[in-house]
Symmetry: D2
Subunit: 341 residues, 4 copies
């Protein structure tokens, strides 16, 4: 059986496990006050070229989104997001559970446009009754998006400029950041992400770590007292060094980017395999998630030998399905899948 269900089916990159083994019986203080966490933070500040940034390590994506958003907003504010945004769809109401409304924006290929953000905020404050409505207090986007698509340099800069013109922070969910930055058409770097956003995170769970997300607060005045907020959200790992060691390893010798590129290479190969056989795509994704349209018979047959997720029902006889590669995908599995087509 070939598995392309998602990008978190394996454990961690072997180098990470090796480091966890080596350090296993060392004694360090808890909650991230250890040397490995300090080192990881420093390396992340460097790769982001952001010496003033505050870096925090949390465990998972939903948790990180809920904690950061709650930290950034005042009680009467909501978060702008694409209607397909992860926080609006797949987080069991974690954002609302901390009291905030997700204010939805139209999307194309999972992306929001600066014009729509501008229009939302401008018309919000033009409405005479705006104090009876939820104020847009920040913008959430994901890079890459839930559809595997990417914001271009120009788009990101425009979103950043729009947010800052309206005095709201831009938060980038980077659960798959590595896959976004190393995609062939990507024209932004981690430095750019850091420059244009106010808070973002670098996903570990889906890119080589057992778990973990590195939150980078490029303007720390926006998110003061984040430690008790993390604790209050149940997001503080007792043995914080586990996060430090993992991110220290990922950001040593460019491992994070190298393994992310591998996932994209595998996805490209798969994409070509589908394209060569004239399959249609639901979405043109340059990253590790590929969305293909299958008819029911194709889907059924493929399911005998491979696992993958049904993304959307197109019509009675067709579905969009998702094949996800990861840092751990074996080329032989990709070849075998293409063989099956």
């Amino acid at each position: 059986m070939l598995h392309f269900d998602c990008d978190y089916m394996e454990g961690a990159h072997p180098l990470i496990l090796e480091r966890l083994l080596q350090t296993n019986l060392e004694q360090t203080p808890g909650y991230g006050c250890d040397i490995y966490t300090q080192r990881a933070k420093e390396k992340i500040r460097q790769v982001c070229n952001c010496p003033e940034a505050a870096v925090h390590f949390l465990v998972g994506g939903t948790q990180t989104n809920a904690t950061v958003i709650d930290g950034l907003l005042r009680t009467y504010e909501g978060v702008l997001a694409a209607e397909t945004g992860h926080i609006n769809v797949h987080e069991s109401g974690a954002i609302e559970a901390s009291g905030h409304k997700v204010l939805t924006l139209p999307q194309t290929d999972g992306k929001v446009q600066a014009e729509d953000v501008d229009r939302y905020i401008t018309s919000f404050y033009q409405d005479a009754t705006y104090e009876h409505m939820v104020a847009p207090g920040m913008l959430y986007i994901s890079f890459p998006t839930e559809y595997g698509t990417l914001y271009s340099r120009k788009e990101l800069e425009a979103l950043s400029e729009t947010c800052h013109r309206h005095h709201i922070p831009l938060f980038i969910d980077g659960a798959r950041m590595g896959y976004g930055l190393t995609a062939i058409p990507a024209d932004v770097t981690l430095e750019d992400i850091a420059r244009w956003s106010d808070v973002f995170y670098i996903g570990g769970t889906k890119v080589g770590a057992l778990f973990g997300e590195a939150v980078v607060v490029t303007n720390p005045r926006l998110l003061t007292h984040f430690f008790p907020i993390i604790k209050q959200h149940g997001a503080l790992l007792a043995k914080g060094r586990l996060l430090g060691i993992q991110f220290d390893t990922l950001f040593t010798d460019g491992l994070y980017f190298r393994i992310a590129r591998h996932a994209n290479d595998m996805a490209e190969k798969l994409k070509k395999g589908f394209a060569d056989r004239h399959y249609r795509f639901f979405m043109d994704s340059p990253t590790n998630q590929q969305f293909v349209i299958l008819n029911n018979r194709q889907k059924e047959e493929l399911h005998r030998h491979a696992t993958f997720e049904t993304w959307a029902v197109i019509d009675e006889s067709h579905s969009a399905v998702r094949f996800a590669t990861s840092w751990a995908t074996r080329e032989e599995d990709v070849d075998a899948l293409i063989e099956l087509l």
Copy 2:
């Protein structure tokens, strides 16, 4: 100046003030444990033909929506509502503040369709990842809607049947209930509302009272321990009898319906006035809110002599505006407004 801004510009129906005066120095226990409140509850149970119903009096609409919804849902559930629903637009995030997501449904003229409710719930549970999403735990509709429109008997029955087939309660926001029930094309009664919904409220604030909403829980097992929930939401009036006296008065000799009908009569007259002069309508409303399309010049001129609300900008030169009548609207003001056209 003629005022058609909204339906809460005056105080209360004179009979209510008279009753408040008569009883002013009587001493009664607080929090609704008085004889007037008991009487009002009994009268409401009778007019709803619902002897088992629990009746509670709250102060305002947003408060009532937030309190009832929080009382009906479990923490992981959300409330289905039209995207134009009051709880989704004009309550400053009160629903989310108590932890619940508003799950939006498409709307036509402010109304949701049973098919859309059915489709939402059915496809929700067909989605393999549904436990990562917010479960639809109830349906919220308003009667009449925020656009003044009405659900028909058939539509209401279908919504009720759909909700109950999916084991979720139907909650009806009746902030303007009187104006809905007494509209010319209305084919439902308060008994019908009580039969088809699980919880609904009869608005006083906009229909003759100083303030107050009467919540009717037709199936009290759905909403146990509502008293501390009301208190926790800051919705418990110390001098509860003020609510009791008002609703006792409104439901004596059909006052509530009589004064509601007056508002509708005034609105009909106004509507005819606009129609006779070939004005276009933004929405065909049979109740006390009339939505008319004006060009900028018309709007400006009318604003010199009358106040009304801009509802939506249609294009650069046209707006949809709202004229609201109420139980207190004087016919001479309506005539004067028509004169101005």
Copy 3:
């Protein structure tokens, strides 16, 4: 039957009802944007000698406490209060419902001491693990307290100084403010309250109004965007002018203070009546609530002719009971009660 259960058994002072009647059919905009509300705000600013203060009118006490506290605190902060404080005991968890812990302080006669506040905050920040605990973000006190007792000038000044030295705001619950300010031993004025606190409110519900609490924010920078916070808490009255008219009346010609003094006079007479007959007091209260210790037989006999609240069970044969007077208490009722003793 004589009623001394609480101070909200009657309606409103007749002058208030008269004003409501006079203005009943006037048309004004909603939500406090009317002339009466503006006037009331101005009069309150004047009597507080606080021209820069922001004044807001809410409906009830629990609601006001929850809304102000939620507005003042950041998500990770809690509110310091006497363990007997209303917010800690009698608000059905309204403070916690908006996410904040009540941090309890020891009390004597319902009052907290500046030393205890200082000790709490100082030792909090000396604790190495303080970021794992709820930070004290403000102090809540009530004037008079739930036991009818009063802070002296010196005590209030010390509390204010302590709070400000530790950079947290002082919030005073004045649900019975009038009864506190006009008590014989009171040595503080409304100006003092305004000078020493950051936010406080002047209770109307218990002092002559049908309902309503006037929140005075003496330093408005501490509580920005309070309007949507009020709305989100369901605390925004549609016909806001009802609050404006009531407070305008109460603060015209010193009515508020005059009627409050009457309640205190009645309480003093009652107190003397009990003292002359050698009853013991549970608490020495100089305001409108008198706490007397009765044995079971006395309590039973008195209950045949009078209603009052049991406050605490002292031992098997004695209870502390509360007699509350109000602006509306008739001297003949007090005399009749004393007669009964």
Copy 4:
């Protein structure tokens, strides 16, 4: 330097790391739908002799407490706990953040008494105003307590009986469960814990795992739909198998109990070392946390060679300090510490 700061200074038991290594590149579905998680659940059900129990794996203690408590309570209910309980002191308000008040009970050595629970609930419902107060909806205790002390068989049974007589569930925080069950004076087993409680958890973070807490719901009807509640609390680990593998290993061949006993043995040795030298104890703990009273000079000197936590300041010249052993403590370190005394 010798480290006795806490029981989470090392990584995981080597057998756990070995299993993580062996399975690292296997592909499994996420969120706990893997074979290792199923196995771990089955083993835990067996060791608890509780075939009907639902078992869930969460990441950390604060997170588990907040999620379980939110799952068990209705919105208007609070959780009874010792005033020294972890949820009341050291969780940054995580319980309140999900809307629930912690209702404090008096404690002795960190433990609550059945009589106090009974008295609280009984007098709560005797209070005529109880609907204005937060209803006690469950009891939280920790085993062992935050002071390392243990409930006896008899005490636990009494607490359980009291809770069930009052129809509220008993929840046991077992962050250090292993250290409690294997302490010399312990007279309860995991089966007893399962029989007497409604929900409890078996801590992994402090007893051999990298992280993880196993929640056992012995009466699953009490906590339905726990999956979305976990997700909403940000407590769902994407690579759920990491928890499954760890608990599968811990509950194979009694590893969990064996390593817990080691920590207790080390603590006993340390305790004897202090006692032999006539040190006084702040608390008589039979588990892995030892609380000793040191004078300032002793503390200072010891701090040159060892790390430990200051628990409480006794007076100007004495402190209570805590020495914690763990599954990983080396006997040579204990000997060296005793040597230092």
